[in-house]
Every structure is written in structure tokens, then in C-alpha cells.
Amino acid sequence: MPRNPLDGRGRLRVRGFGSDEAAADAPATPDSEADADAPPTDRVRRGWARFRRDRAAVAGLAIIALMALLAVFARPIEVGGVVVQPVALAPYDPGASGVAPAYLPPSFAHPFGTDWAGRDVFSRVLYGGRYSLSIGVIAVGIALLVGVPLGAVAGYVGGWVDETIMRLVDVLYAFPFLVLAIALVAVFGQGFWKLVGALVAVGWISYARLVRGEVLSVSERDYVLAARAVGASDGHILRRHVVPNAIAPVIVQATLNVGTVVLSAAALGFLGLGLEPGTAEWGSMLSAGRDTLVGGEWWVTVFPGLAIFLFVLSINLVGDGVRDALDPDADTDRFRTREAR
């Protein structure tokens, strides 16, 4: 079989930890065929039932929910002068310097200590979730909105449209994720939306590639050919057959990519290239880095990093769980079920 040497190559992403390659190639079993015919709601319900059985994934989801709640309720939120969220779980303003002497070790008043400017690290870590979580979700969301339609069009229309889109994807794939994001931030500058823009510009290509591949393989399936033979329209085939079957791997990839994006955003912050310096973002909080360690102020480094670690670990657990839940073969294949545990 001719193999396009560029397919499936490129940079290695943080992906699942199961046998995803094998799962993708596995022939459809009766269970997955049943799923393909089932109404979407039924599919979601069965997927959720499978997800719930994965204790690690549920724990990950709980941690993410908790971190999101803490971030939302860390400080009051005002929209146009109206307070929509009055709760303040963070004891201090995350941006306020000099709330205490600099470099106080953890204590009852300052559970995570204070940093060089006398800012409360605990408040900053709680509040910092807002940046990491929103950057992760928004950047992945927009990347999906760009990549999925482009990939679907490339796969379905084919011809020069496909060539144009996929050659652009190939070129972008040549740049390592972080290096390209750094270069884009260098050109367009710092700030929340510029950072999101850079992460989207780098991130959409993986969805385009994935969706194109899925669309190509689904279009060749017997049931699509049959639908076409009985006169179904392109729109009907796309909606009823192609999209529902192509969407599962996209959801898995997107979930896992939230982790990659959050890590990248934190790395940019650490390098001083993400948000404005001094922002209470987890990565930026680590940029003082080594100097504070040598001074013995370990808490400035340990707690924000722990927050990133916990979040990314949780999102990876959820992504694994979602993959196993959406891959119906996992239930029938003894090997894979054991792997999923």
C-alpha cells in the first residue's frame, strides 16, 4: 500500500498512554458498529458510563473542577462595574506587593509564603488558575474552530484545496511547537490574546491533520458508499456519517492538547515571553527561578509548579479516560481493557 511518508509524522505530542495506534487501526467490532448506528445521545450516555468506571479519570475531572472553582472564586469578578461574583477565597490581592515582608516562609497567615515583592503566593496560585485554565480552554477551542473545518474540507473536497491546506500544515509541522510559539510572540508581542493567538496558530494543524485523515477513512466505509448509492446528499453524509465518526478522536486529542497548551503557556511565562512580567500566572511566577532557590526560598518555586503539574496530570488522566470511553472496542478487547486500567 502506498504510504504518504508525511502522514502521521511530525512532532511528537503528548498523547494518550494506551495503545492508541492499535485502537485506530482496529477493525470495527459489532459494538462499535452498534454505536455508529445509535442516536448521538445514546452514544454519549454509554460513553459517560464507561468514563465513570475509570477511577483515575474521574479523580482527574474532580481536581480540574476544583481548580476551576478555586480560580473563579479566588477574587470577585466585575463585569462593567457590576459585581457578578462577590466571593474572595484568596486572602490577598494577587497583584498587591508589600502585603507582608518579602520572602516570608509558609505560615498560617501565608500558607505558601510570600515572594520577592512581598506578595502572597497562595493568593497568586489560586488566582493564577484563571490564566492557565482560560488560556488552555480558549486556545484549544479556537484551534478546533480553525483546524476541524479546514481538515474536513481538505479531506472531503480533495484536489488542490487539499494540497494547499496540507502543504501549509506540513510546513508548520516543521517547527517545534514551543519554538514557533516563541517566534510568534516575539513578532506580535506579549499579552493574553497575543499569547492565545500564537498558541492557536501553532495548534490548529494537529486537528486539521487528524480530521482530514478521519474524513478520508470514513468516506471509504461501506455505509457511506451505500448512503451515496441510495442518493444521500453530501451534506447528509457529512452530518450523519462522517462527522459523528470523525469527532471522537478529535475530542480525545483536544482534551490532551489542553495539557500541552497549558504547559507551553507556562513555559513561555517562565521565559518571560508570555503575559506581561509580574502577572500572577503559574509559569511567570517561576521565572525568578534559580535565584530564589539558592537563597533558600523554595516555596516561591514549589507551589506554582505544583499547580501546573496537578492540572496537566489531571487533564491527561481525563483525556485517557475519554479515549477509552469513546473507543467502544475497549470493552470487548480483553487486552485493551487491562491496558486502560
Binding site: L6, R11, E21, V171
Partner: protein, 315 residues
């Protein structure tokens, strides 16, 4: 198709990609506000004569396509112009930093392979046991740990508390003993995520191989389990591991950019970040281009290696 023809065809396929990469790298700097002259002058006042001579030097009075071709010609001769912050050439700066990054990346790669592959084999052979579970948890943690945080924690434990290693790079040649001692922490930090990926990949490859019929045959003819695993299963599994290993170049380069900052490692990544903060765009352009070319070449090697290692594949 013969292997040779495949290699030629695959190599030719990289040319349009390399062309696209060069256009993008060239265009990136064109998107900057201001012209290269402004950056060379650091937005200071200058005489019209100086401006005019700089404009001529950067071919700014030519049409864009001609600027690109002139730039490409220079680049193909490894001439990336002069640095903005000093009179040194960009090529000299890169030539000085490149070996540092290669040593760091190479060491990290070795660590990742030497840890990841055996761990993956053990996990696959002892599938479902506590050992397998443990390796999964460690690998998951390895992937989720921000590498710069891991580096800082290692400095905290081994550099500050235990005082085993120096926290600043020694002034010594790359391969001197004190330099190698300092290399340990950055290399471990950089290699951790790759080791985790290799573990999972090897495990899944070995698991797939263990289901093959030739394994049953090998066992049936009375080979010891050790021989079956090492001589048959591992060899076949390594095909996929080796090819992914080549693709790790991009992953390691990304990591190096961050970790070089953590350990003040004088490599390309540090040069890149510094150059961005100093708006030294010829350097940014050159490093980004170099990195992208390295990735394209690594992918090419990965595909060729794959074709060479697995004779069943026809193209």
C-alpha cells in the same frame, strides 16, 4: 519500488517543505513593526546616509520577492548577517552555541532511551502487575511535570540542599569532567518527558509483538522466554521505537529552549530567548530556521530508517 528510489523520492518531497519553511521564516521578520534598519539602529536617530547604506545592506529598496531570493542565497551560504547587539556575525554565534545544545540534547536522548526502552519492555512483559501500573503512573507524571519546574526542583535538592553539584555552569571545555558532572541534571531534566514517552511506546509495541504468531512458534520450539523477548520481540518492536526516536528531535529542541534557561546552559535555546528579549531578529530568524531544518531532516531520516528496518513495507 526499491529502497533507493524511495529514499530519492522522499528526499525530493522535503524540498517544498524546506522552501515553505524558508518563506515563513523570512516573512516572520517582515511582519515586525518597523524595518530591520530600525532594529539595527535600536530606534535611535541616524543620519540619512547611514540609513540609506543600511537599507542597501538589507536590500530594502528591492521588491519583496527579490529581497527573499537575496536572503535565501545568503542563507544557503550560511550567511545570516550580523547581530544587532554586537558586530559579530550570527553564524559565529550559532557555531559557538550549537555544540552545547547538541551535547545537552544528545545526553538527554541517551538517558531517555536507556531508561524508557527497558522500562517499556518490563511493563509489557509483566503486563497487569504492580510493576506495569507503577511504570504507567511514573510515565504519566513524567509527561505532566513542567520541565522547567523539574529542573528547579533538582537544583533545589541536589544543588542547594545536598550540595552535590554546582548550580552554575563551570568555565571549562564541554567534555571536561566538571562540565560532564554539570551536564547530569540538565540532561536528566530534558530526558524525563522523552523517557516517559519511550516507556509507553515500547510497552505498546512489545505488547503488539507478543500477540504475534511467531512468538508462539518461538516458545513452542523451546526457546527460553528471555531469548524470545530479547532476540525476537524486542528486535521487531524497536522498528517503531527507532523511528519515533528520530522524531524526538523537535520535542528535545522545545525542551532545550526552556531548560537551557533553567541551568544557564550556553546553548541555542538561550541564544534564542536572549535574542528575542534584545530584539536581535537576525539571530531569531537564523535559530528558528535552523531548528525547523533539523526537524525536517530528522523526519526524513525517520522515514528512511523505517523503510530500511522493515523490509515488509513496500512503497
Amino acid at each position: 519500488m526499491s529502497l533507493r528510489r524511495y529514499v530519492v523520492r522522499r528526499t525530493l518531497l522535503t524540498l517544498p517543505i524546506l522552501l515553505g519553511v524558508s518563506v515563513l521564516t523570512f516573512g516572520l521578520v517582515k511582519l515586525l513593526p518597523g524595518t530591520p534598519v530600525d532594529y539595527v539602529l535600536q530606534f535611535q536617530e541616524a543620519t540619512p546616509e547611514l540609513r540609506a547604506s543600511l537599507r542597501a545592506q538589507y536590500h530594502l529598496d528591492e521588491p519583496l520577492w527579490k529581497q527573499y531570493l537575496l536572503w535565501l542565497n545568503d542563507v544557503l551560504h550560511l550567511d545570516f548577517g550580523d547581530r544587532v547587539v554586537s558586530d559579530r556575525s550570527v553564524s559565529a554565534a550559532i557555531a559557538e552555541r550549537l555544540p552545547e545544545t547538541l551535547v545537552l540534547g544528545g545526553a538527554a536522548f541517551l538517558i531517555a532511551l536507556l531508561v524508557g526502552v527497558p522500562a517499556g519492555v518490563v511493563a509489557a512483559v509483566r503486563r497487569g502487575t504492580l510493576l506495569d501500573e507503577g511504570s504507567r503512573v511514573v510515565a504519566l507524571a513524567g509527561i505532566a511535570t513542567p520541565n522547567f519546574w523539574l529542573g528547579l526542583l533538582l537544583i533545589l535538592v541536589f544543588g542547594v540542599h545536598l550540595d552535590l553539584v554546582s548550580v552554575i555552569p563551570p568555565v571549562a571545555p564541554i567534555l571536561a569532567p566538571e562540565s560532564l558532572a554539570f551536564l547530569v541534571l540538565p540532561a536528566v531534566t530534558l530526558g524525563t518527558a522523552s523517557a516517559a514517552l519511550f516507556t509507553r511506546l515500547t510497552r505498546s509495541a512489545v505488547t503488539d509483538q507478543l500477540r504475534q504468531e511467531y512468538v508462539r512458534t518461538a516458545r513452542a520450539k523451546g526457546l527460553t522466554e528471555r531469548t524470545v523477548i530479547v532476540k525476537h520481540v524486542l528486535r521487531n518492536s524497536l522498528v517503531s521505537v527507532v523511528t519515533v526516536a528520530a522524531v524526538q528531535v523537535a520535542f528535545l529542541l522545545d525542551g532545550a529552549v526552556v531548560i537551557e534557561r533553567v541551568f544557564s546552559w550556553p546553548g541555542l535555546g538561550r541564544l534564542l530567548v536572549r535574542a528575542i528579549l534584545q530584539r536581535d531578529f537576525p539571530v531569531v530568524q537564523a535559530v528558528v530556521l535552523l531548528v525547523a531544518v533539523a526537524v525536517v531532516v530528522a523526519n526524513l531520516l525517520a522515514d528512511v530508517l523505517y523503510a530500511w528496518l522493515d523490509p515488509r513495507i513496500t512503497y
